[in-house]
């Protein structure tokens, strides 16, 4: 399978199975796009002659050379490559690999089910996840870390994300849990990677210093322009939070040496023109940026409309152009979804099996309950067990284990499947009522982001 598209003056051909990317001229673009429509060389040649009748430089020798190049790419499995490794299909590999994945390697620790902001679009309902306010007791957190170590098998790298609600509202417990895990590293042979997501209100020099020592990555929530941010991200007293958090975030990033952070914004029906928010964050001195479409009920006033989605796709294209323009300049910035490491990125197995929610990755509530991931927390249908007895809802775990991209015909037929691994189970569930369903709008936006990311690579890589 291939995906051939034109963007900003470039013709790009992605070979789905191998991941190969080819930047081609107009003649090669048409030849490759129609390659499988013809059964013989003469028919292909006639089609090109007809399409480029006015191009006098397109000689028989030129066409023969082009066909030889295409045939060479096919032979070397960089074009129209089969989805096979040896005698096994990608689908068989995915099933085998998924069956073998029995270890847990990452936890999302909900250290706080309360928040000092009341963001209108919060999927966690002001951080409470449809329940009561709660803070994770230290003993529950320690038990969760012990559970992770015990369930991680031979895996060396373990990940813990401190999440909420607002995790800084339970900061002493966060610090103690980091110390507890560090003390366990040498005896267990494990290496912990900690991350933190915060709205920034409670940041101070002590928090920043500890984070800079211990957190491999921090995610800082800012929606961009002041008016946009303050309209939806207000304190419990109804005040905007922009003026409080921006100076704190600027200090944080500066003291962090400008590394290992992401400014993370959400765009909604209020701002499908989110590029202005990204550029605003760049103007504030932030360069590691991420803006995400809102996750909410389709009936919500914040939900993206069909018209919004078209606007967002145009914004993604303009964003790529802006990033190319700024490349190498002091005002250059990165965008999370455009950072694809094509040379040293994830292997085939990772691309076939995805994020591991419900199997390798679980969320832990303040009460020690286990859920498939943070977006399922609070829905009793998705409770998997607890950190004392482990996963007791084996049927649910097996349902997530079987949540393969090959179970959806739309995914099997999709050129982007090895970039998303079938997408987010929670998004699919909230859009369709089943983790095996499809969040079609999300797919549409994802594919546009991949197209733009590959275009950026093409202008940098040639």
């Amino acid at each position: 399978m291939i995906h051939a598209y034109a963007l900003h003056g470039k013709n790009i051909v992605l070979d789905t199975a191998s991941g190969s990317i080819h930047v081609v001229d107009d003649v090669a673009f048409l030849a490759i796009k129609t390659w499988q429509s013809y059964v013989d060389r003469q028919s292909r040649k006639m089609a090109l002659r007809e399409a480029f009748a006015s191009d006098t430089s397109l000689t028989d020798q030129e066409i023969d050379a082009l066909f030889a190049a295409i045939e060479s790419l096919i032979k070397s499995k960089k074009l129209f490559a089969p989805e096979m490794v040896g005698n096994l299909s990608y689908e068989e590999l995915a099933a085998r690999h998924s069956e073998k994945r029995r270890e847990i390697k990452a936890l999302c620790l909900h250290v706080s089910h309360t928040c000092n902001l009341t963001c209108d679009y919060c999927f966690a309902q002001a951080g409470r996840y449809h329940g009561k306010e709660a803070l994770m007791p230290l003993e529950v957190g320690k038990r969760a870390l012990d559970f992770l170590i015990a369930q991680s098998g031979k895996r060396r790298h373990l990940e813990v994300d401190f999440f909420g609600g607002e995790p800084l509202m339970n900061w002493d417990v966060v610090k103690e849990l980091v110390r507890y895990a560090r003390a366990k590293e040498s005896e267990s042979g494990k290496q912990f990677r900690f991350t933190l997501t915060t709205n920034g209100l409670l940041l101070d020099d002590n928090v920043i210093a500890f984070c800079n020592d211990e957190m491999s990555n921090v995610v800082l929530s800012l929606d961009g322009r002041r008016a946009i941010h303050d309209k939806l991200r207000r304190t419990v007293n109804g005040r905007g939070s922009y003026d409080v958090i921006v100076p704190k975030f600027q200090d944080f990033v500066r003291m962090r040496g400008g590394k290992n952070y992401y400014m993370r914004g959400t765009f909604t029906h209020e701002n499908p023109d989110f590029l202005a928010d990204i550029l605003h964050m760049a103007d504030l001195g932030f360069y590691a940026l991420s803006m995400e479409p809102v996750v909410c009920d389709a009936e919500s006033p914040h939900a993206l409309t069909r018209a919004d989605i078209e606007t967002v796709k145009e914004q993604y294209e303009q964003l790529a152009l802006e990033m190319k323009k700024r490349a190498g300049q002091p005002n250059a910035f990165t965008f999370y979804h455009y950072q694809l490491d094509l040379k040293h990125g994830p292997c085939l197995y990772k691309r076939l099996t995805g994020c591991g929610s419900g199997t390798e990755y679980l969320a832990v509530t303040p009460m020690g309950e286990l859920y498939p991931c943070h977006q399922f927390v609070g829905d009793p249908r998705f409770r998997m067990g607890d950190v004392w007895k482990g996963v007791s809802n084996n049927a649910l775990r097996e349902d997530f284990r079987g949540c393969s991209l090959f179970k959806r015909q739309e995914c099997r037929d999709c050129w982007a499947k090895l970039f998303c691994a079938g997408g987010c189970a929670a998004n699919h569930y909230h859009a369709s009522g089943s983790i095996h369903g499809l969040y079609a709008d999300g797919c549409e936006l994802f594919k546009k982001r991949v197209e733009c990311a590959l275009w950026l690579h093409s202008v940098k890589g040639l």
Binding site: S18, G19, H97, R101, E103, H337, G345, H374, V450, S458
Partner: protein
Amino acid sequence: NRIETIEVRDLAQSCAEGGCGECQTSCCVANQPCEQEAENNG
């Protein structure tokens, strides 16, 4: 040239069977670094 190919990781040849499993959890797969590749490349 009519066709310029960008060098990428060969997916079908990329790993021992099953992969090493040490990579980061996506949560967003293609954005994630590969631990093995990172170690191989210093």
